[in-house]
């Protein structure tokens, strides 16, 4: 088991991605060193309470690399303190980042990478082809600070600023994956985007539909078409041999047993997040800047500690208690994901026990395309094997 501890080092970002769930981004809430140190001391002082074998020290924003000086100081302090205290995590830790990639090449970031190379996991988000990426991942314009949206013709995409750093990133972390987010507007570009990312040298593309209720009529049909097209391209182009796309997974789309398959999907509550104010959350999605319509779910702070009562609803969550009957009895239930934070935000009451079903039709479309993918792939592999066997037996016949 590993513990994921997230520092929300800033709520600022250079970009203003249209699908971003962080509704409260701002330039003011930057974590101070005192708060970061307070959080670290609180956690490391309680080794008996944080008993997981490993730890992932995760840094998130906004854009975390905007605070590279602070992050560098935090990581140095973590390494020193874990060692000084003979903390069991010194033998098993990672520093993890999800970045927009814009500052990746800068001297400070590169120096940090060099210092911590063997303990780093860095994911750069690139959404696919330029037209797909730039559709959503646009630069923040000054007027957005005042809540104004720029005109479409004034929007500036960030593709070129990110893609230039991909070769360096892949050179340093060849096994890293990228994370692609799908919202309603960019469904038509899914197939070309995944292939484009493969073409850039990214071997693993983690891709998911946003959990928010944004889906329009017909989106599922278009989505299924795109995934089917992608399935053909991956199989015909033999990309499956060395590349992966998280949309296609062999064991999804099956019914789930009420008792045997009753685990919660999400790790909220098992994780811990801390923000600039020194408040603790069950995951970043419960901080106020992530929530549209609910108050933050604060479980404590670095001074008074964690109120274990406020974690109890998360730790006892299971699939069926939070799902409606349709979801429980769904014939293609497995692999249908949810985000506990979005469930909470969309719920009718103050609860994490009401599963949002906004993604339902998209999951079903994915399952149909996924079935197509595996049926086609298995048939192809079977035929290849058959051909191979036939060739072998022909050779034998000739030998005789």
């Amino acid at each position: 088991m590993e513990k994921s501890i997230t520092f929300i080092v800033t709520k600022d970002c250079q970009l203003a991605c249209k699908y971003c769930y962080l509704v409260g981004k701002n330039t003011k809430e930057r974590m101070s060193w005192e708060v970061a140190k307070g959080a670290i001391d609180y956690i490391l002082d309680r080794e008996d309470e944080f008993r997981e074998e490993s730890v992932i020290w995760d840094f998130i924003g906004g854009e975390p690399f905007l605070e590279i000086d602070l992050i560098d100081k935090i990581c140095d302090y973590l390494k020193t303190e874990m060692f000084r205290r003979n903390h069991h995590w010194f033998n098993s830790y990672r520093f993890s980042f999800s970045t927009n990639g814009i500052n990746y090449h800068t001297e400070k970031v590169q120096r940090f990478i060099e210092k911590n190379r063997s303990h780093l996991s860095i994911g750069i988000t690139i959404d696919g082809t330029q037209r797909k990426h730039d559709l959503n991942r646009i630069w923040k314009a000054p007027e957005m600070e005042q809540g104004l949206q720029p005109k479409p013709e004034e929007e500036r995409g960030s593709y070129n600023d990110v893609v230039r750093n991909i070769p360096l990133w892949l050179y340093q972390f060849p096994e890293e994956s990228t994370k692609v987010t799908i919202s309603s507007a960019d469904i038509p570009y899914i197939c070309e985007s995944v292939l484009h990312l493969y073409g850039l040298g990214i071997k693993e593309v983690n891709i998911n539909c946003v959990f928010e209720d944004v889906w329009k009529d017909g989106d599922d049909v278009l989505f299924e078409e795109q995934l089917t097209e992608l399935a053909d391209a991956i199989i015909d182009g033999k990309w499956y041999e060395e590349h992966a796309c998280s949309f296609f997974q062999e064991h999804i789309g099956k019914p789930m047993d009420r008792e045997r398959d009753n685990q919660n999907w999400c790790g909220a509550g098992m994780m811990l997040a801390v923000d600039a104010a020194g408040m603790f959350y069950p995951c970043t999605r419960f901080a106020q800047y992530s929530l549209r319509s609910k108050p933050a779910w604060i479980i404590g702070n670095i001074r008074d500690g964690i109120d274990q009562n406020k974690l109890r609803p998360f730790l006892t969550l299971d699939r069926c208690t939070q799902s409606n009957e349709e979801c429980i009895n769904c014939e293609v239930a497995s692999g249908c994901a949810w985000c506990q934070g979005e469930n909470f935000d969309a719920a009718d009451t103050h609860t994490v026990y009401q599963r949002s079903t906004a993604i339902c039709k998209m999951h079903k479309a994915r399952v149909r395309a996924n079935n197509y993918y595996w049926n086609k792939l298995f048939r192809k592999l079977e035929l290849q094997e058959y051909e191979e066997q036939r060739r072998k037996s022909n050779r034998k016949a000739c030998d005789i």
Binding site: F83, S118, H119
Partner: protein, 94 residues
Amino acid sequence: MEIRKIVGQVTPEERAEIQALFERRNGLNELAKILSADNTDLYEKLIKDMGETGTKFQQWWDEKAKKYQWESYPHGNWEINFDTCEITLVATEA
């Protein structure tokens, strides 16, 4: 030309031992980059630990090589795959 050849496998428990030592050694090396000799106590602790961890690391390979009698080359070395527990002989052909 580099030769890579799987020459054996260790148990998951043995893998866990060497993985922990590997992680610790990486941690110590990266800590060494930021710790100065001015911080006397911690610096000495680090130097001592690096020595001990290095010794344990070598001991593990010596013991396992003796136990499993893996194939070797004069200028080759073994690598472990932490996912599969497999031992690979890596050598450069003259």
